[in-house]
């Protein structure tokens, strides 16, 4: 009996030692591509073609629920996984996920935006605090993706372009799932291609989305498709 207890203690101890030795860090960094330049807010101008230019003043979005799969089996899921990227705050351009075990994976999946359960969970803190300016007030719900800027194509006042994409409830759920088949990366480099977003919108007719709607879903899909990983 005593020897069994001893064995259990030994196993627990060795497991603790073993796993701490194998603790794992996965870094995610997010960069922007705007006409092959690095973006400087309100300054960098993208030139899509000789007729169309654009400039970005505000760019904020949520990436959430990072999970890692090996052959479709979930091997690691980040706890409390909500990351607010804000172009104006460089410290939000990268983050580190800690895992107690060494993760081998061949697929990473995450969301662009905030899931519906979190959207109906009341006042939340950290990245989800309403003071981050990513929460609608007139109607409950997070803004998943916010892009404000200007384009000569937009015939609004001051050529303004405002996209506040959100909506968690059917039929206007704009949450997007993004998947990359990448293997065992410890330094995940995501790039959001702003050119691709603007190339897929007709800014003469589409320059203003401020509430959950079909157009918000359509544009959210375009944004999700504009991400690339370690290319």
């Amino acid at each position: 009996m005593r020897s069994i207890k001893g064995l259990i203690v030994f196993l627990l101890l060795s497991r603790a030692l073993f796993s701490s030795a194998q603790s794992d860090r996965i870094k995610v960094s997010i960069n922007l591509n705007i006409s092959n330049n690095e973006l400087i807010l309100s300054d960098t101008t993208g030139q899509m073609n000789e007729n169309t230019s654009f400039q970005i003043d505000v760019l904020k979005f949520y990436l959430s629920n990072f999970r890692f799969y090996k052959n479709d089996t979930l091997v690691f899921q980040e706890h409390n996984s909500f990351h607010l990227f804000d172009e104006a705050i460089p410290t939000t351009h990268h983050f580190i996920m800690e895992n107690s075990e060494n993760t081998t994976y061949n697929k990473v999946v995450f969301n662009l935006g905030i899931d519906s359960i979190t959207n109906v969970s009341g006042a939340l803190g950290g990245a989800l605090d309403p003071t981050n300016g990513m929460y609608w007030t007139w109607q409950s719900g997070y803004v998943n993706f916010k892009l404000e800027g200007r384009s000569n194509k937009s015939n609004t006042r001051n050529h303004e372009v405002q996209f506040h994409l959100g909506g968690y409830a059917s039929p206007n759920n704009s949450l997007q799932t993004i998947t990359f088949n990448v293997k065992n990366l410890r330094d995940i480099k995501l790039v959001l291609d702003a050119d691709n977003i603007f190339n897929n919108i007709d800014l003469t007719t589409q320059n203003h989305i401020m509430s959950p709607c079909k157009e918000a879903i359509k544009l959210s899909k375009i944004v999700a498709q504009s991400f690339s990983c370690n290319q």
């Binding site: 959207n119 109906v120 969970s121 009341g122 006042a123 939340l124 803190g125 989800l128 605090d129 309403p130 003071t131 981050n132 300016g133 929460y135 007030t137 007139w138 109607q139 409950s140 719900g141 206007n172 709607c213």
Partner: protein, 344 residues
Amino acid sequence: MKLRILILYVLLLFMLAFQSSNDYLFQVPSNFPKPSYDFSKNALTSPKIQLGRALFYDPILSRNNMISCASCHSQFSAFTHIDHALSHGIEDKIGFRNAPALMNLAWQKLFMRDGAVNHLDVQALAPISNPVEMDENIVQVASKMQHTFIYPQLFYAAFGDSNITGENTLKAISQFMLTLISANSKYDSVMRKEVLYTAQENNGYLLFKKNCSSCHKEPLFTNDSFMNNGLSVDTTLNDYGRYRVTNNAKDSLKFKVPTLRNIEFSYPYMHDGRMKRMADVLNHYTSGIQKSKTLADELKTPIVLSPNEKVDLTAFLLSLTDKTFLFNSKFFYPKELFLNSSKD
């Protein structure tokens, strides 16, 4: 100044000493169902409730520091805006709807007349940001409070952190609102078999159960859903209710079924406050229903009430008045907090 600090600390100690569990601070009335609010994420404590009470009464929530929650939600009228069909907010700007009475909020799932707000915690963001109500934003509110003498201390007492966040601000306001329970009307005493109804009230109760209770469901006197109760569209407002939120034609002209508790004091009635007297409301249900595609099934056949029956029904509705709620000192303006400190 020293005396002020001393008084404040004594007060904080006093609040801490009486910090107790959620169950003690939130007692479900014996004739009420289980609340909808999830207390596990925001368990009530006395310092948090007191902070929420301060926030409820403090105009610091508005852009010009002049409008508080209580400006449009006064206790003696069951926390609605008495005598105002549409409330006036900052700089006397007129709102779009009648301010709803506030009570028994822990039993509600969606908030506002159209259900645009999905959780009590985030409700306050709407009036804070509305340009005709407080016209402020939560970032500014947190920043203004951080620079006061009193709030960093109240937040520390409540949350163990003097750094003021949006989350903690909203949770504290929720805590105070959750304590606004009205369950001590004559109706409740009758249900608890403590007193008896008069013959007239009893007849009114039978009429109520026959004609009204499917939507104004006991004991909360609302089924917490959205219905079209046959009001004509006011073309100066063109308010289509829940349709505005869902964009679904089935929701056109539907508004939240309000509680009837304390109806005696929560006039004027309806989402735009178009009816001043209870008699106007009863007359609407017997002879004013406007038919439309989304009209509630319950109102498709007219409700028939004789003049005497209307009187009896009114007697019953008056039995929903809860004076212990309307005059409960726990919900008063927290002068002990505000008079002992200044915004220096």
